[in-house]
Symmetry: C2
Subunit: 450 residues, 2 copies
């Protein structure tokens, strides 16, 4: 039923591959679902993966290809000719076929297409290749069921029977006019239970019809399908003609990727990396943010140098450097995370900027007062009450500034069409470190009258 | 078609509510989809929300209730009697009905149920109330279509017609034996195109049948549906009997919530808060992590006090405190984020602990060497080459330690069934701050022979 890849299974499989034990493989691998086979191949090394992949027939190879990790697929495809690739993808859904060959270089794409015998499939693939990856057009597939409004139910069933051969999951029948303009939809359930003579135009619904245009950004598509609980959404062109449909499984991938990306940005990873990537790739993905952190640290050092005279008079001021930088960073990240999430949900346009800033400032004042008071009490153990006052007033001020910057930066980034999640990462922490140190030492100097 | 809530619309609506302009409301609100109406009501204040909600008929009230923000729904429900609530939820899908009344107190749930006239609906609701919220049982609904294996197609269509009245989206027909044990599934498409006399037992598929048990954790349900690209999954009890189904729209919500939670944990927010929550709630959600940050800052101060003698001899050591803490924090968060993501994807069980640690250490060595070299060059401007050496050797050591801790902590948390995403938040930053300072000053003392 549901397959879990275990260490034992993997060892047994690797043994069978070593000893070319096709019988074991046939019984234990080929019976699995394509996505499970893909998980297994992802976990094998290059030669083992190739051997196992070669045991699959063309159709299964195609299905497995769509589920493989990008780098594994790329490696595997290199060992096949354009003709072989054409055979593998021939029976895939159009969107999956495009996903597989989309990564090849343009000449090879042409070659692969020239080897596909089904002319209709070729046309669908060529059409889909036109659209940008991250738009509704890039997500959609050509497999859907459509009915003309003027058909009666019995003719409709005959026509649909032909169309349905290519469509794995039907969900909904889209109803179009003679110009292919989308009019509405009809559930299979409704068709199934209707009288044979009834015209489709009397059956279909147009109220609550949601469609998306080919150019819509794929995150927006995800938001629409999520909001309206859709399992499939029809895609129309500028003239309103039906050109494809997007199914929820592809959108779930978009949602996951989006969430992963935000999480990675917040954690200071600048490229998509998986724990299976190699050391160089992982290192490279981390360097940009670490460099920003380093520059922040150097700027921080520079600020402290500027106040060296004060520190040599009141060395205890140095004790609380980590407190100030840590709190500035934490408050900044918290404030920006809230803004980033409401931007991602798309419900940020209503509240005005000033209202948001006001609220964040209020929160900062509440938390700042509370923490400053506690810190004041604690610092008394470290030195004079002047020190305590200097530290707690600084902490309060830094908290307030960090909250304001944390709120503003993602909003500004969003305004300039830059992913606001960038703000939640080391960027805001670094900025607040430097700013916090400056505020801290300035206030410290004032309190000690230096 | 697709509705966007604009400022202008909201102002016009508020005016209409003030002037009790039911005609405008009827034309501009009641025609919208329930989820859009819910978005509008969420944006209104208490009295306006109540007025608008009262304009809806019972069925629409029920649908809108399921889409409202939790606190808005709770507030609205307070102004209705148990009988009125019963009428509102009577036509909802069983899972939505349970979601609405699940938040009421036990006595009121009993009262509401006693007012529902449809006995079957009552039984379904009572059954669903037994399951934990965050399990497959808590996610499932009682609306699904099932067929007995020994029915012929024509009888099946008659039976399904009855069942289908209550089921909004059919997707798949589940095939059961006489004991209600799930045998397999049958697509509506296959049924539609089959001969009237064929037995269901000859039509249904059992290969690739995926089902989940009632007790399965809802994140695991999401993982299964995502992996196998399912739009609906049947839920079975311990005896293998079919007891419900879960549809993808509910699972998309689980995926989103899970991603939001991870992002919030990584950003130091400990409770589910929305930007619409009030100042106290937001402040409270941030206090736990800020307190940890504060304790870290105080511990850091304590570490520095311990090395006060050294600092007074080489004051320049204080300059690089922010650099060390920032880099330790950043590296730690990066390392733990990678581990958290691979744990969330469920592909972490294969790679052994040592392999992971080895790889993270390699990455840390590469990045540590690179950054330490740059920092060494820069520190020469700030003082002696001994200082440069001390800072860059410390930086390298801290990077390595932070990477090891960043990798270990989420794995340890996961082992003890604590959400590993906790590690990516201020927790790891704070730990690395204190540890980093200790390493830095120890190495500094050694280099300067203090």
């Amino acid at each position: 039923m549901r397959f879990e890849l275990t260490k034992e299974y993997l060892e047994k499989l690797q043994e069978s591959i070593q000893s070319q034990n096709s019988a074991w493989i046939k019984e234990n691998v080929l019976e699995l679902q394509d996505v499970d086979i893909a998980v297994i191949i992802n976990a094998l090394d290059r030669d083992e993966a190739e051997f196992l992949f070669n045991q699959l027939d063309d159709d299964l190879q195609g299905e497995v290809l769509t589920d493989l990790d990008d780098d594994v697929r790329e490696r595997l495809l290199k060992s096949y000719s354009s003709k072989e690739i054409a055979e593998q993808i021939e029976n895939l859904d159009s969107d999956d076929a495009v996903d597989v060959i989309g990564e090849l270089d343009p000449e090879q794409i042409e070659e692969v297409i020239s080897h596909i015998s089904d002319r209709e499939a070729v046309e669908e693939i060529v059409d889909l290749l036109h659209y940008e990856d991250d738009t509704a057009g890039g997500l959609m597939q050509k497999e859907y069921i459509k009915a003309k409004a003027d058909w009666p139910v019995n003719r409709c069933i005959i026509e649909l029977r032909k169309q349905a051969e290519d469509v794995e999951k039907v969900f909904t029948i889209y109803v179009v006019d003679d110009n292919e303009v989308l009019l509405g939809f009809l559930s299979l359930k409704r068709l199934l239970f209707a009288d044979a003579k009834t015209k489709i135009s009397e059956l279909y619904q147009d109220k609550n019809m949601i469609s998306v245009k080919t150019g819509l950004d794929n995150e927006e598509v995800a938001r629409v399908m999520e909001k309206y609980d859709l399992v499939a959404v029809p895609v129309i062109d500028l003239q309103g003609k039906l050109v494809g449909r997007i199914t929820i499984d592809d959108v779930v991938d978009v949602i996951k990727e989006e969430a992963d990306k935000d999480f990675q940005l917040a954690s200071g990873l600048s490229e998509k990396v998986e724990s299976s990537s190699n050391v160089w790739k992982i290192s490279r993905a981390r360097i940009p943010w670490l460099t920003i952190g380093m520059i922040g640290g150097i700027l921080g050092a520079w600020v402290i140098v500027g106040f060296e005279g004060g520190i040599s008079k009141v060395p205890a001021l140095a004790f609380f450097i980590p407190l100030i930088t840590a709190m500035g960073g934490n408050v900044g990240v918290q404030s920006s995370a809230i803004v980033v999430q409401s931007l991602a949900r798309g419900d940020a346009q209503l509240g005005s900027l000033w209202k948001k800033l006001g609220k964040e400032s209020m929160v900062a004042i509440v938390n700042g007062l509370l923490l400053s008071t506690i810190v004041y009490a604690i610092t008394l153990f470290f030195g004079s009450s002047t020190l305590g006052l200097a530290v707690s007033v600084s902490l309060f001020t830094v908290t307030l500034f960090a909250a304001v910057f944390g709120t503003l930066i993602p909003l500004v980034l969003d305004r300039y069409k830059i992913d606001p999640a960038l703000a939640t990462g080391p960027f805001i922490t670094t900025l607040n470190d430097v700013l916090g140190l400056f505020i801290y030492f300035t206030i410290g100097m004032l309190f000690f009258g230096i």
